[in-house]
Subunit: 142 residues, 2 copies
DNA sequence: TTACATGCAAACGGTTTGCACCCGG
DNA sequence: CCGGGTGCAAACCGTTTGCATGTAA
């Protein structure tokens, strides 16, 4: 199933469905947990499958691109900060074309989150919401 | 103002309010934009203030800790992934004590986000919501 | 047969750290 | 005066890349 999706995706791009790529795919789908590239390597090794770290790092972006895998908890490779004094908590709309960041605050959204936490008996300390897409300007151009 | 907050915070921890820390604080508050440690260094250099990169890296966690600065766009230093097939989009509750990750999906939340985007004429492609706090188990222990 | 892929090891780049010297309290 | 702080440069470590070799189509 995932196999078929990935294979067709690769075909369309003129890329090859190698045994290493199949292995990475299999590793990815052998767990419902989050993982990082290293987890994946260890996971595969445990199954006796040998794939180089490089191949894992080269395959993951393909899986992202065809939508079989999603990235969690990281947008960029380095830390970003902002000072909070005077403007308090807010969320962000991030334009994936021009990089523009639009701050956003919604009381309704905040309340809803508090309620969702309650349902899970989770004590919320802080949260981060980032919505990625195209800002009005970039959207108009396209 | 920020100065006072930071100074008192340091005092309470038995730490010193040095000119380097003051400089970093000043740099942080001299912009309303996001920045990374390197931006900050350049920003300070431009003003003729010399602080080492190491001091910036050592000061930022303190500013986070006392709430004068927030981290944006990064939780962890390495990428995390999850496969999407079969369980589609969802958000996450992340326990900052035990690391447990609870998946969460709320139709209401999704709808609200779409509406917020509309208001900003933003074309939403994807989003990430992470709520950090204490899971029920860790909460019970504390 | 021939692009494209792989493995390896070296390079990269952001972040952390050891150490000798410095300085705020 | 002294314990924490600083700058510097080296170490770290996750990720990327160049290159010789392998292989899917």
């Amino acid at each position: 199933m995932e196999n078929k999706i990935f294979k067709e995706f690769l075909e369309k791009k003129g890329l090859k469905f190698t045994k290493e790529r199949a292995a990475v795919l299999k590793g990815v789908f052998s767990t419902h947990n989050h993982f990082d590239p290293d987890d994946l390597l260890i996971n595969l090794r445990r199954k006796g499958i040998r794939v180089s770290k490089a191949s894992i790092y080269r395959t993951l972006p393909l899986l992202l691109e065809c939508g079989l895998v999603e990235q969690v908890e990281k947008v960029d490779k380095h830390a970003h900060y902002e000072h909070t004094f005077g403007h308090g908590h807010h969320d962000h709309l991030i334009c994936i074309k021009c990089g523009k960041i639009i701050a956003l605050y919604s009381e309704k959204l905040e309340r809803l989150q508090v309620n969702l936490c309650k349902k899970e008996k989770f004590r919320c300390i802080t949260h981060t919401l980032e919505i990625k897409g195209y800002c009005s300007k970039c959207n108009a151009k396209a």
